[in-house]
């Protein structure tokens, strides 16, 4: 294989795996959105909060691997429950902007809490995945991103199976489609929203492990939540299978822009690409690639 081809393949795979990470975060976002029509701007903060839980149990308390993992996810689920009970339940039935604003309030509240609890400096995140990269032929992959990419496919597969095939998951899907209908069928909307928040927080914590494995953890990394927004919108806000595909498109686009456009634009294209794509998507097809309903046009 020629040098350029290997280069191209490397960029492609890197982009694809990075896209999977975005898809994972987008998935947490979508699960929460489906249940409560809550567009969660605090998604990135919840990811990093979960990361700090992992950091606490692995690095500060030094628990054995599986116990630490269980505690981290347990605490993340609890956080989800707490957020739903404390903030979103009193706001059921409020106009949409109130929900949007409250997630923005939550976003900065969580940022502040992170600094107060764990300090504002950068700290070393534990190695949950081993450090040495995975080698396939001439290509190298960071191990966390590699396994993260594969496991996000697994998670997406399980979630879509749960949502479409199990009785319990179908209840959540009905809530996603129509609150009033679900309520009149005897399904508790409140409980479904709470469950969605718990699942969302657990996925976020997993995303944090993939994102931060062996790197520094810092509250400012929560910008990943905003970076994943284009993926969510491209996927369509309700579509679980849309997330990996949209993640792929955004990841590949950003990676190729990084490789082939940035030398000419001074590094601006790879960063701006997802947002520009998002603006185009919003203007042409506001419901995203796989969204359910036609958005009310004016």
């Amino acid at each position: 294989m020629s040098f350029y081809l290997i280069d191209f393949l490397q960029y492609t795979f890197d982009g694809a795996l990075k896209g999977m990470l975005y898809a994972l975060i987008a998935l947490a976002f979508i699960v929460i959105y489906r249940a409560g029509r809550i567009i969660n701007f605090a998604q990135g903060e919840i990811v990093i909060f979960g990361g700090y839980f992992v950091f606490t149990f692995f690095s500060l308390i030094n628990l054995p691997f599986w116990i630490a993992l269980a505690f981290s996810f347990g605490l993340a689920v609890l956080l989800g429950l707490l957020i739903e009970r404390g903030i979103f339940r009193p706001l059921i039935g409020q106009p949409i902007w109130a929900i949007v604003m409250v997630t923005i309030g939550l976003m900065i509240l969580l940022q502040g809490l992170m600094i107060i609890i764990w300090g504002g400096g950068e700290q070393l995140f534990p190695l949950v995945f081993a450090r040495e990269p995975v080698r396939i032929g001439p290509l190298l992959f960071t191990r966390s991103i590699f396994w993260g990419g594969i496991s996000s496919f697994l998670i997406i597969f399980i979630l879509s199976w749960v949502f479409e095939k199990t009785r319990w998951g179908l209840k959540l899907t009905i809530v996603a489609e129509d609150h009033q209908m679900a309520q009149s069928l005897g399904i508790s909307v409140k409980r479904s929203i709470a469950i969605a928040w718990m699942i969302g927080c657990a996925i976020s914590t997993f995303a944090a492990i993939v994102l931060l494995n062996g790197k520094e953890i810092h509250f400012s990394h929560s910008i990943i939540g905003i970076q994943a927004l284009p993926v969510v919108l491209l996927a369509g806000m309700e579509s679980i299978w849309g997330a990996p595909l949209a993640g792929l498109i955004v990841g590949l686009g950003a990676s190729w822009a990084d490789a082939y456009l940035d030398p000419y634009t001074g590094g601006v294209m790879s960063e701006a690409f997802p947002y520009l794509l998002m603006l185009i998507v919003l203007l042409i097809r506001p419901q995203g690639l796989f969204g359910w309903k036609i958005i009310e046009r004016v």
Binding site: I39, F41, I87, P90, L91, Q94, I96, W97, A98, I99, V100, M101, V102, I104, G105, L106, M107, I108, L109, L110, Q111, G112, L113, M114, I115, I116, G119, G120, G121, I226, L229, L233, T265, G266, G267, V268, E271, A272, Y275, L276, M278, L279, L282, L283, P286, I295, E296, R297, V298
Partner: protein, 354 residues
């Protein structure tokens, strides 16, 4: 709307719609303007600096109130529009030696044009999707500023600006700038108060309440939605221009999403859909900010692991985030609502009913 005291009634619509309607309102207004005039000679420099910052922010937040509170278009990019104003104003002042009374309006126009461009999607999308579009504006803005040629907007270094001069006066102290800033703020607020009572303001409110119904009544949605963004962003641009002359340095990191969130927080706390609400929100949040700054040394002892550099930021985040959430849950109509209850009960005293 607060009720008027007993015995006051108007005979024409013009009287009824006036901003200042009674003698006591005239007296209060004149007393207040006089107070503004002498304030720098009473208060310490530190307070004047606080008022200057608050007054600049006030302009941007009044603009946001027009876009979001009156026209109902969620805008999370106000800080980017303010930045655009500051950069245009700074660039004109540095590269073309334009006097400040031309550079600041030009900055306003620059901010307004950027706002109008990002407001155009509002025609097709609304609500939370619009919030996301404006966030995109906010994130893309510093990227582009930093990668444009350095002699346009200073790229990574930012712009350093000479103090504004008018005749023989140089605006380089807090007190001289106070008069410049307060005058601008008063003019902009008056303009906003009049705008919202005009045909345009009524069109905005109609669009906010129901845009399909508004269109049925013959309101051109494309024009008025873009106009709402244009005017709101123009306020931000003027605020940015003043900011450029006040700080005398403009850099892309002064205009981040974080500040946009602040501005939105201010109108939520103050009350959506009211100019006075915007001002109350600015005063409330800026006061909280000062209180935290003063509590800083005490908090550092209390929470040693955080580090003093980060503590202010963290404390501010917790307070602001908490305040936004609490207001949305417990008093979604904001401080303005409380204020108008208070005012009405004062006016109709001794009768208990509102």
């Amino acid at each position: 709307m607060a009720l008027l005291p007993c015995g006051i009634h108007f005979e024409s619509y013009n009287q009824d719609m006036g901003i200042i309607r009674t003698k006591s309102q005239w007296v209060t207004l004149i007393a207040f303007l006089f107070l503004l005039l002498v304030l720098p000679h009473i208060l310490s420099i530190r307070f004047i600096a606080m008022i200057n910052t608050a007054a600049i922010i006030c302009i941007a937040v009044v603009g946001l109130q027009i876009t979001t509170g009156y026209a109902g278009q969620i805008n999370l990019g106000q800080s980017a529009f303010m930045g655009m104003g500051a950069f245009v104003c700074g660039s004109l002042a540095v590269n073309f030696d334009l006097p400040f009374w031309l550079a600041i309006p030009a900055g306003g126009l620059g901010g307004a044009l950027l706002g109008a461009i990002f407001g155009i999607p509002a025609l097709r999308i609304k609500g939370l999707y619009l919030a996301i579009t404006t966030i995109a504006a906010q994130i893309v803005f510093p990227l582009f500023i930093m990668h444009l040629p350095a002699n346009w907007f200073g790229a990574l270094l930012g712009l350093k600006i000479e103090p504004a001069t008018l005749g023989g006066i140089t605006f380089n102290t807090d007190i001289s700038l106070y008069y410049l800033i307060i005058t601008t703020t008063c003019i902009m607020t008056l303009f906003a108060l009049n705008l919202i009572r005009s045909r345009i303001g009524r069109a905005f409110v109609a669009i906010r309440d129901n845009d399909i119904a508004a269109e049925m009544m013959g309101i051109n949605l494309f024009f008025y939605k873009t106009l709402a963004f244009f005017i709101g962003a123009m306020y931000a641009g003027v605020a940015g221009g003043l900011w450029a002359y006040y700080i005398r340095y403009v850099g892309a990191d002064q205009f981040t999403l974080y500040f946009s969130v602040w501005y939105v927080g201010m109108i939520i706390v103050g009350g959506l859909g009211n100019i006075l609400g915007a001002i109350l929100g600015v005063i409330f949040i800026q006061s909280l900010r000062e209180i935290i700054t003063h509590l800083g040394p005490f908090l550092v002892e209390f929470l040693p692991q955080v580090g003093s550099a980060q503590l202010w930021f963290a404390g501010m985040n917790v307070v602001l985030g908490g305040v936004i959430i609490l207001f949305l849950i417990f008093e979604p109509r904001g401080l303005y609502h409380r204020w108008s209850i208070l005012k009405t009960s004062f006016r109709i005293w001794p009768f208990p009913y509102l």
